[in-house]
């Protein structure tokens, strides 16, 4: 009898039930999408923040002072270098998947068309191998704001890029040739960066090494890593932590712990965060994450209240029905049970459809905005169902209590 009552109520009042179900579905979909976005945005934005380039720099442990003003490097030859053979080991550190790109640098002062200029040796798009893991890294990935008119040089070629200001002064075009220390090298393209490189030559690392007579050496490596905003725990010295805390520190992608691991990977090196990038991206990231979290809270509240209101309306409409059932002798408990069951069914159905709809929506939004999907974890389903049930109950509770207390006579006369 109970089941039949509930079933008939759904069958005969399709329009009303549909309105409420739509409200619940929409609420659940938006909640799912918002929670999904709020959880996923940190990862997406920290990837977008890689547009700022490297946030960690690794230099030789015993380094002499840089004597550089703008693009002019006055540093005498000599000083300490790092070994190129150690570079692939960056892909062996604990947080290797958070390393977006890295570029070694070797500055050399050369005579270019009888002028002293700085030449920067680096990787452009270099395939490397660590163990059986192949990967590609270089300036094209680490510095997305570098623009080249013409072509990028290949990493094993003798070609160079000329900074746009230098090119204008020397009258260089893509395809022209330049004399570097007496030997002729093709200029494959003109580089524009908005930085010191605009007045320099940029060449493959191997070429810079042979020009400086330092095979296998580089001066520093710039690492672009996806990090987590630093907090007080991140700033602790790992050597003073307890073993358990130290493991936790080591296994969190703080700029400090990634720098520490890089230092372990490259012998005789010192890794440090580039504070301009590392500090500020942490701040921007936590602001954006905080914003989305608060908006999600507001969205949950909004859809909760809106669904509650729709539910309350639906319940108010059923006074006559309640009156009739009471007149036929229905007690308070079975009456409430009927309505509670109906609400729970609506909430579960709406929540389930809403969740799948919201998950698809989140994926689509992620693809549209960030070019990669934001996946909604299935763990979220019970949470959404729980919220849907709670909200539906909250919306119908007052109405059910009132309905149960109705005097059947005026309700049936339509005077309620």
């Amino acid at each position: 009898m109970f089941v039949r009552l509930v079933y008939e109520s759904f069958r005969r009042q399709t329009r009303r039930k549909l309105l409420v179900a739509i409200a619940i579905t929409l609420g659940a979909a938006v909640s799912t999408a918002m929670i999904g976005i709020a959880l996923g945005i940190g990862d997406k934005i920290s990837r977008e923040l890689r547009t700022y380039g490297a946030n960690i720099v690794v230099t030789p442990e015993e380094d002499s002072l840089d004597v550089q003003i703008g693009s002019v490097n006055l540093k005498p030859a000599g000083g300490a270098y790092l070994d190129e053979a150690a570079l692939p080991r960056i892909q062996g550190i604990f947080w290797r998947n958070n390393i977006a790109a890295f570029t070694p640098e070797l500055p050399v002062n050369v005579q270019a068309n009888d002028r002293e200029v700085s030449l920067l040796g680096t990787y452009f798009e270099k395939p490397l191998k660590f163990g059986n893991q192949a990967f590609t890294t270089g300036a094209r990935r680490a510095f997305p704001w570098w623009k080249v008119q013409g072509a990028w040089p290949a990493d094993d070629s003798q070609e160079v890029l000329a900074g746009e200001k230098l090119a204008a002064q020397l009258g260089l075009q893509p395809g022209s040739e330049i004399a570097i220390n007496g030997a002729r090298h093709p200029v494959s393209g003109i580089l524009s960066t908005g930085g010191a490189e605009d007045e320099q030559l940029v060449a493959p690392l191997s070429l810079a090494q042979s020009l400086s007579g330092k095979p296998g050496a580089f001066r520093r490596v710039l690492v672009s890593a996806i990090t987590k905003p630093e907090d007080d725990f991140a700033r602790r010295n790992p050597d003073t932590l307890s073993p358990a805390d130290r493991d936790r520190w080591y296994c969190s992608p703080y700029p400090q712990s990634i720098a520490y691991q890089l230092q372990e990977a490259i012998p005789h090196s010192r890794a440090e965060q580039i504070r301009q990038i590392a500090q500020n991206e942490g701040k921007v990231l936590s602001r954006v994450e905080g914003l989305m979290l608060l908006i999600t809270l507001a969205a949950l509240l909004t859809s909760g209240l809106a669904v509650s209101a729709a539910m309350a309306t639906a319940m108010f409409e059923r006074r006559t029905e309640v009156g009739l059932m009471k007149a036929l002798g229905a007690g308070h408990l079975p009456l409430s049970l009927i309505f509670i069951t109906e609400s729970a069914l609506l909430a579960c159905g709406g929540g389930l459809i809403g969740f799948s709809f919201g998950a698809v929506l989140t994926q689509k939004l992620g693809r549209a905005i960030f070019g990669s999907e934001i996946t909604v974890q299935p763990v979220l389903l019970p949470v959404i169902l729980g919220i849907a049930i709670a909200v539906t109950f909250a919306g119908s509770a007052v109405a059910i209590r009132r309905a149960v207390k109705y005097d059947p006579v005026p309700a049936l006369r339509g005077e309620g």
Binding site: Y52, F143, S308, I369
Partner: protein, 373 residues
């Protein structure tokens, strides 16, 4: 129709509106809640959307200079040209002059010395990790690497520039992980008195949107033909990218939330109108015209929309301000300009959700409704 009768019919109209709200307090309250919530959500999201660019823009200004002005080789900024630069910026940014020189220590080690307005540099580059800023003449801020070379134990040290010596003490060290670590910073006054050099670089942090920065870049290029003006593309492109993505996310969230809220209002109000078909049937049976009933419902919907929009707008401003304070430590300034949008939206949604079911009801004869069919 004569004057008094018309008056009494207007009075009757309002009495009906008032009684309808009074008699069905619960229903009216539910509808009003739904509307106010929708309006609040729309207001809060629109407020945030308008303001977030400014708020996040301030965060991005922590990345430091976005435009760099450099004099041509062999030239430098005279105090007059710096003043001219300041007047072009005119409070829409921060201009920090830097002068550079290569000095030698007593042991003939080359080190780069920079002279700048230290107070402005502190404002421009909040990411500098500085142990203590120099407060008086004769004190220097040494990069952590430079400090190890010139003054390993923190003792006073001498530097020489073209035979002219200067005696300095380290007030504090600066750590940035970049070129600054190898430099020694002096106040511009000390630097000029010692080397006789004027600043050659002005680092400028222009406030505002990426478009504002672009505009300022062009203005500076026109007004300062003797200098080399360029954007720090690393900073400007990064900001435009992240800001754009954040705004798109916010915009789609706004659309989602406002749509849901509006649809819930629709569901609530449609249910309400259907529920009252008996009232309309009785009104019709008593001789009310379709137009009158339409007017009555529209009036009711309008009143509800206005009340809901005003309540919701106030609540929404509060929510936006709260989010601003919690997340950005600065209140989001209320955007009263979005009120018309919210009000018009509320009225449209209520009219749509009440008049649509009414049209369906008009096709039905009053007798059928009153019989309960």
């Amino acid at each position: 129709m004569s004057g008094p009768r018309r008056g009494s019919s207007t009075a009757m109209y309002f009495r009906m509106l008032a009684r309808a709200a009074m008699l069905r307090k619960g229903r009216a309250a539910a509808a009003l809640t739904a509307l106010a919530v929708a309006a609040a959500a729309a207001t809060a999201m629109l407020n945030l959307f308008v303001d977030v660019q400014r708020k996040l823009g301030l965060e991005f200004r922590n990345f430091g200079a976005n435009i760099i002005v450099q004099t041509k080789p062999g030239q430098s900024f005279s105090p007059d040209t710096l003043k001219q630069l300041g007047s072009v910026i005119n409070g829409r940014g921060l201009v920090v002059p830097f002068g550079y020189a290569v000095a030698r220590t007593d042991r003939d080690q080359a080190v780069v010395v920079a002279g700048t307005d230290l107070a402005l540099a502190k404002k421009l580059n909040p990411w500098w990790e500085v142990s203590a800023w120099p407060q008086s003449s004769g004190l220097a801020l040494a990069g952590v690497r430079a400090a190890k070379v010139v003054s390993p134990q923190g003792q006073p040290f001498a530097l020489h520039y073209q035979g002219r010596p200067i005696q300095l003490s380290v007030a504090g060290t600066v750590r940035t992980g970049a070129g600054e670590d190898s430099r020694i910073y002096l106040s511009l006054h000390d630097f000029q008195a010692w080397t006789g050099l004027n600043p050659t670089v002005a680092e400028i942090s222009v406030y505002g949107t990426p478009q504002d920065v672009e505009g300022m870049l062009r203005t500076l290029q026109q007004k300062l033909p003797f200098a080399d003006v360029r954007a720090v593309r690393q900073v400007t492109e990064g900001e435009a990218n992240v800001l754009g993505k954040t705004r798109s996310t916010l915009l789609s969230s706004t659309a989602l939330i406002v749509c849901t809220a509006a649809l819930c209002v629709l569901a609530t109000l449609m249910g309400w109108v259907f529920d009252r078909r008996r009232d309309f049937a009785i009104m019709k049976a008593l001789g009310a015209s379709d137009r009158l009933i339409l007017l009555f419902v529209a009036g009711e919907a309008g009143a509800l929309a206005v009340a809901g929009a005003v309540l919701g707008f106030a609540a929404g401003i509060g929510i936006a301000a709260w989010i601003g304070r919690v997340n950005f430590q600065a209140a989001v300034s209320p955007q009263f300009s979005v009120f018309p949008e919210v009000l018009i939206g509320a009225i449209l949604v209520t009219l749509l959700s009440t008049l649509l079911p009414l049209r369906l009801l008009r096709r039905i004869q009053p007798a059928m409704i009153l019989r309960g069919e």
